[in-house]
Symmetry: C2
Subunit: 456 residues, 2 copies
């Protein structure tokens, strides 16, 4: 309880709520490079595949059962399922499913998973209103820019103190995106951001439970409802983000206002979005990548005596579970990630299923992994040494894992990932159509042609 309770408030913050509201309301459609627009399509497609893939997960089933008690109108698709629910509930459930496998996109500067809150809100609204694909892409780019810029301003302090930053910035991104899609003017967009500012969602203590994926879902719903309320004249503080008792100063000791305003409209944070090759927290990826490379160099579960891992302390803080007992907990175990990489050469959702996580050979190999924290190792890196039973040692150093900005997933990689996730739910032929619709989303006259393909 040693936190300093004396808060020296910053009374001279720039009016970032209004600056962002104006930006979202007035930035031109497709007012960015082709590369940014393509990245938006990649972000959308990766998000959609994750959501479809988790459509039958028990967290989706539980959330939908709760939603069903509200007797919702059939307004928007629950991705990967036959039913439709009201758009706010669709935003909630699709936000949950898209993050359930921890397989969604990551804005590496902040560890925000921006599509979960933003795309879940905007697609549900767009489907109900029959919006164009262009309007959805525009809203997605701008909404993600808002969430990630606010995240940049508060990271790392905000995250360090225990907020799950995806849900505690995502409601702003979702509100911005929905306000844009609705065509709200600057003043009402400011109000939408203001209403959303009172509703951060997410604590890191929830990691390893269904409430972790609830965070982007809850943020999506909060953002969509905030924009709806603003449209109908509901008011909030126009300084809700920056005031001394506003959002950022209340939930973070760090508020770098320049991160919000610098290069606004010319630098787009979606450019820094990445997509995961492995179905778990990003901090484990370098270690898995290294173990996959060890496997390619002939290391096997049979011939290995010990695997020595040296990583940044954050890796063990976030994913230090040594003996995960089910798939959800295994997502927070760098030990399991290494075992999966070495045994299977991959770590997709299947490798985080309960029956794999508890398999004898997996448990045995996991126990051979010895991890050491070293502040001198970059968070993006991993140093891995395999000590073999015959005494040989094989070293692999990963500076940037596959899926990083330096070694991005290709479009073909994303197609393959989408198929692996969605084929079991929708069938291969339908998925091929859906992938095509994703790549062409910016040209679609009505997003309902796409959402119809996402129902079995």
């Amino acid at each position: 309880m040693a936190r300093n309770t004396h808060v020296a408030a910053d009374h001279n913050a720039p009016p970032v709520t209004r600056i962002l509201g104006r930006y979202v309301a007035t930035h031109p459609s497709r007012g960015w490079s082709d590369a940014v627009d393509h990245e938006a399509h990649r972000t959308f497609m990766n998000w959609l595949g994750c959501a479809v893939g988790a459509a039958q997960h028990e967290s989706a089933v539980a959330a939908l059962a709760a939603v069903a008690e509200l007797q919702p109108a059939a307004q928007a698709t629950v991705l990967g399922r036959a039913q439709q629910v009201d758009m706010a509930s669709a935003a909630l459930v699709n936000g949950i499913t898209s993050h359930t496998f921890d397989f969604d996109d990551t804005h590496l500067k902040t560890i925000i998973h921006p599509a979960g809150p933003v795309a879940s809100a905007v697609l549900a609204l767009a489907e109900h209103t029959g919006a164009s694909g262009r309007a959805v892409i525009d809203a997605l780019v701008l909404g993600i820019d808002v969430a990630c810029r606010v995240g940049n301003a508060m990271y790392p302090d905000h995250y360090d103190r225990g907020w799950h930053i995806t849900g505690s910035t995502g409601m702003l991104g979702a509100a911005a995106a929905c306000a844009r899609l609705m065509g709200l003017d600057e003043d009402k967009t400011v109000m939408a951001l203001g209403i959303a500012a009172s509703q951060p969602v997410g604590l890191r203590e929830q990691f390893g439970t269904m409430t972790k994926p609830f965070h982007p879902g809850g943020a999506a719903r909060a953002g969509l409802m905030s924009a709806l309320m603003a449209r109908h004249g509901y008011t909030a503080s126009a300084k809700a983000l920056e005031a001394p008792r506003g959002f950022m100063q209340v939930i973070s000791a760090k508020s770098d206002w320049n991160e919000i305003t610098d290069e606004l409209g010319t630098r787009f944070e979606i450019s820094f979005n990445t997509y995961k090759p492995f179905a778990c927290g990003i901090v484990i990826h370098p270690s898995i990548d290294a173990c996959v490379q060890l496997r390619e160099q002939g290391v096997t579960p049979e011939n290995v005596e010990r695997i020595e891992l040296i990583v940044h302390p954050l890796v063990l803080e976030l994913t230090g579970k040594k003996e995960p007992t089910d798939g959800l907990l295994a997502k927070f175990s760098v030990y399991h990630g290494c075992a999966a990489g070495l045994i299977f050469g991959r770590a997709a959702e299947e490798e985080f299923s309960d029956h794999i996580v508890t398999r004898d050979d997996v448990v045995a190999l996991r126990r051979k992994v010895v991890a050491t924290a070293d502040g001198g190792v970059d968070e993006a890196a991993a140093l891995v040494k395999a000590v073999l039973k015959d005494g040989r040692e094989i070293n692999v150093r990963v500076d940037h894992a596959i899926g990083s900005l330096q070694r991005p997933m290709t479009d073909a990689n994303l197609d393959a990932k989408f198929h692996a996730l969605a084929d079991p739910i929708l069938g291969e032929a339908r998925v091929r159509e859906l992938i095509g619709a994703c790549w062409r989303l910016g040209d679609a006259a009505d997003v309902r042609t796409l959402t119809a393909l996402a129902r079995p």
Copy 2:
């Protein structure tokens, strides 16, 4: 930006999430004194009157227009209006209306308005499921106990750093009450509290806008949905409240765990609930009370030169608006409160309407009020001196305003307040019936007999 970012986490907190979950799930029905049970009825009635009274307010209209876009099922009553909406939306809107006039109940130890989140959630759920009045009263007592005990543990630090504590504890109270009403077992009640813990709602920067009353509404909806999700097997951390990266340590530097556990089941925080005679923030009440007393002693707007007010610094910090330009802002003006008390002898909702707030004589008298902050004056007190034009001075000292625990509103006072609020909406005869139904709520076989009376 001087807040200390180095957080020394408390790893030895008692398991308060589970302790509260067990308490809510297992405490006997009516397991408290007649006085506590009667206070629960007073709390319920005062809350209901406030909600009905604000049914036509523009914030209710705006919120309902947003809700209508979801095409909600007719499950629960919007109090004071003909329509019904889904129970989650009813919890939202009734939470908003009950706090719109700042006329609802106050747990003075924490400045929490506990009924807004808790009663709004539980009545909506009870109406949809046809629960008994006894079940509602039980849920209300236990839900308010949870919200206020968590508030006691974090107050004042949590409030000082900018959280609107009503909405940032209310989702826990609402989740607890709804879990109780649903009959969830201990484990599922713990999950309901855990899911709710990720959803605190409310920033003090929003004071003076519609988003202030949104906070109890948003908390009511979040709590109800958390209980519904827990019922269907959705999971959360069972240490969501107390863990180092759980709710309390993340959003407050003060976590007095004993406030949660001491006398649990024998001391009920609803016993410390109070009801406002004046339609504004509680901190202004001693000043208004004093000015009403000045009026009774012959001070008039015509014969007064100046009114000198000495109050605790918090009063001016919260309600220091000197020139409020509309009714909502006037709620945060101790200057306006004094003028209303002296001119009208009361400060009900009418005295905070736009046309009164901007009336020339009111503006003129407001400018004669000079307020001084003095840390030596108790928050509950006010020292007021009227300096008359003839040179005389009249002093009034209020140590505890009417409506305080020391000078509580009587049941008859509450009846009169209810009539003043609800008669314009429902008519006097219907309101008399509704008041009777409130006092007999604990004996009602089905709360729908009461909610039917709350629709015009």
